[in-house]
Structure formats: C-alpha cells, structure tokens
Symmetry: C2
C-alpha cells in the first residue's frame, strides 16, 4: 500500500491532485492519512480476513449516519469461491471479484420495513417513492464508505464493483434477494498483493468541484484542461493508454451501448419489486 | 464529544449496539475509534473553522472512490449567515443549519460532463439514465461520508440534512444550480457545543443487517424485537418520548403526507433538468 508516512501531510494532500493544490494543512492525524491515501485495489492475495474482522468492519459501517434512523440497507457477505466466481462473471468478468476472499454486496433494503408494516397490519406507501429508494441507496453508500475507511485503517484494500448493476436481476437471484431489495454495488475486500501495488489516482482540482455560496462554472474549463494534463501524465506513469479525462467521460456516457446493460436499470428495479413514484 | 478513549475497543464497538453484540475486536486503531464513536451533532458553537480546514475536508472527500472516475459530483460551501438561515427554513426550520458556521451541500452533478460533451460537439444520452443519476448520487454520498470522518477526526461535529430534498427547486434557486445538478443532501459542520453533547445512537443488531452468502429473514424478527427494547431504553436515557423503532419506521413511511414534500421528488428532479430513462 506504499508508505504514506514517508510524506508530509501537505505532500499527501497534494498527491491526491497530482499537483500543488493546497498551500497548507492546518491539522493532521492518522485518520486523515488513511483517507487521503486511498487507492482502489484490484490485486489481492487469497488469505481470508482474520476472525472477527468482518464484524468489526460492519460495526464501522453501521456507525455511519442513517436517514431518520430508518436503516433501510443491508449487507451481504460472500466468501464462497463459486459464488464469487459467478458474481465476477455477472460483473463483466472482473477477476478480482473471484480472487479476493470477501465480496460485500450493499443492499438498498425496503423489504425490512415493508415486512414490519405487514406484521403490524398497516398499509404503507412510503417505500414506493423515489426519495425513499434514494434514502436506501444513500444509507448503503454511507455505510459502505465507512467500511472502506475501516478496512484501509487495518491495512486491507478494497474496490467498489458498480458493475453488479449491469445485471441486477441475475445478482438478486444469485443472492436470494426478496422483493424490494436492490444490490447497489459490491465491495471487494482483501489483503493487497504487495507485488502489484495500486497508485493514488489524481482528482479534479477543487476549483472545479468546490463552489462557494453559489454554483460557479467560471473556473471549470481551466480546471478540466489542467486535469487532462495531470491524468495523461498519470496514465503514462502507469503504462496505461493515454486519453484526456474530458474525452474519457464523454465516451463513457455517450449512450446506452456504453452502459453495459445499465440503461435498463429502471426496468430492472421494477422487476425487483420497486415502484418509483 | 465524550471520551471514547476511556472505553476498551470492545466497549466502543458494543456501544454502537447498546448491547453485547461483538465478542472480540481483533485489531484496533484511532481511525476505528473515530468511526465507531460517530454521533450526529445538532448543537454547535458559532466559531468558524480554522483557515484551510475546508480545503482539507474537501481533499478527504475527493479521495473517496468515484465510479469510473467520472467525478459526477460537486460540493457547495455555504458560510453566509443569511443564506444559511434561508436553507434552514427550506429544510423544515432545522435551527442547526442556521447556527453552525458551515453548510456543505453535496450535489449530483451531471452538468459538468454535459458541458464537456457540448464543447466537444458530441451528443450524449448517458446522463439521461437512472443509473447515471444513481452514480452521481453515490459519488456524492461516498465523498460526503469521507468529509464526515475527516471532520470528526479533527474534533468537529456534523449532521446530514436530508430535508434539503423537501424543496429541491427552491434549494437549487438559492444556490444558483444549473440544469442537471441536484442537491442530494446538506452536511452541517462545526465545533460541537460542549454544553449539549450528543450521544451514540444504537443500531440494529448485525443479525438483522448482515447476511451470509444469501439474504436471510430468519433472525430479523428477533433482532427487531431486541432493538425495540434497546431504542426505548435509549430514548428513556435521553428524556425523549418513547416509541419502539418498528413503529417509528412504519409511521415515517406511512404515505405521502409523512414525506414532507419528498413524495414529489420525481417531478422535482425533472424540473431540475434530469431525465431518468
């Protein structure tokens, strides 16, 4: 995972941007070191996590805020190698899904509250609104990001698998999901392979992302042009094919043919029992 | 913020559940202490954040994973007291929105990539799919949760303001948002008022939330019954009105009248320039 402790806090913060972005770091601690040093890991050694680690990671996840404390999310831990191999296939053959010892699937879970209403003899329509679906997705995302941070603090690596949304119904069938439970994304966790270390990927300048008081487009063009240069330099350093970021994102969002099945998500979630009023 | 260092790691983890949930904590560090010790803070002193702190928090936020590195999110920092007061009103008169020195509004931002496509003379339809909207919401949520963790590591407190979705168009107008930019939620940040300390809110048992290999409903009923007892004990200890959680969540999701305007989110995001194919 590299040795962030070799760098000053300011170096570490600016490493996130591949350029001199910040001029000062007013305060620092080991949690900020974990957060700023994040890299997505796609090469793992097969060793299982130590006993009790999964439960500790989930406790960190459950410590994230939950909208109105509804806790409309669940998480499914997959360790079975055959099931991981099938999930890997469903996620566009991402080899690390099969290779790492643990795949967590984060679930937007409106089944739990629907069951409770039924048990209480109540008819409720709240779960049938887009905002409620969104709450469930956001609850799951906040919890997942806490798990990522907890895992990295323990020296573990992880990577999100958004491609589980390529084939949501197949994933739901594989995982035995009841109606109104949606697989938001996967999260692969394991010990990073020390022979194939991952790098910190630079991000857009704060001039593009951080707005003050009102939304501003003024500095976006210059910030994107600078970032295109940073990203192509990063690609070169990694031996990757070079393409400016501004072209990558347009290609990725060109149209349904570039979405790998995710253009039919609305239909898929309807098939999974959701209504989005 | 209490003194988590007075407790053992196992105490701290079990404090999250208000019961003996875990039997061991195999490894521990100060980042886990921050994560497990989270509490939502709704009482702040008015002092502004130290110079450079906002930029450091945003760097932590941008360090969160972003789907395909599309970075389809932005964040808007509101410090102007009058604007915070107006946002407070729009969010159901939550007084801490006006009281704390900083309100971050996290934005699902499909405007940036749409502008890039336009500048390149490309017509793209990717932004018009539910999955792309979801990516933007998730990107924003992952970044926001990193900001929460970073802030807490620095001794700051925070609370999410989902109620910004009660009136999305009014919030968008207040913040000058262009089309295809959606305010996902607010995040209030400041120094916690030491005279009104917040408590750790217990969560559902892992028996309800964590599933192994396939989704399981077997233990949910018992876990919810246990949790109802934990939550009413917590409410009693806080001097709050007592209502079992299983009834709270059903009330909160009874129907449109309980959603405070969020039943019209689909219409609102259409008004904000989004298409959800």
């Amino acid at each position: 995972m590299g040795k962030p402790q070799d760098f000053s806090p300011l170096d570490l913060a600016n490493g996130r941007y591949g350029r001199n972005e910040l001029t000062e770091v007013p305060d620092f601690n080991s949690t900020l070191e974990v957060l700023l040093g994040h890299r997505s890991v796609r090469a793992f050694v097969p060793e299982r996590l130590a006993e009790g680690t999964l439960e500790l990671l989930i406790a960190a996840g459950q410590s994230a805020p939950s909208s109105s404390n509804l806790q409309v999310w669940s998480v499914l831990a997959v360790e079975d190698p055959l099931r991981r191999a099938r999930l890997s296939q469903l996620a566009g053959n991402q080899v690390h899904v099969a290779q790492a010892p643990l795949v967590l699937v984060f679930l937007a879970d409106l089944a739990r509250v629907s069951t409770l209403a039924q048990q209480q003899g109540e008819t409720i329509s709240g779960p049938d609104y887009l905002d409620t679906y969104l709450m469930a997705v956001i609850d799951a995302a906040l919890a997942a990001q806490n798990v990522v941070t907890a895992a990295e603090s323990l020296g573990l690596g992880s990577v999100y698998i958004g491609a589980l949304r390529n084939k949501p119904e197949e994933v739901a069938a594989e995982l035995g999901l009841p109606p109104k439970v949606f697989p938001v994304f996967g999260l692969v966790i394991g010990q990073p392979d020390p022979l194939r270390p991952a790098s910190v990927k630079p991000r857009l300048s704060q001039r593009a992302v951080l707005h003050r008081e009102q939304y501003s487009v003024e500095q976006q063009d210059a910030a994107v042009a600078d970032y295109d240069a940073v990203i192509t330099a990063f690609q070169r350093s990694q031996g990757l094919p070079q393409q400016p970021w501004s072209q990558q994102v347009v290609s990725r969002l060109r149209g349904p043919e570039a979405l790998n099945g995710r253009d039919r998500l609305l239909e898929a979630i309807s098939n999974l029992g959701f209504t989005l009023n």
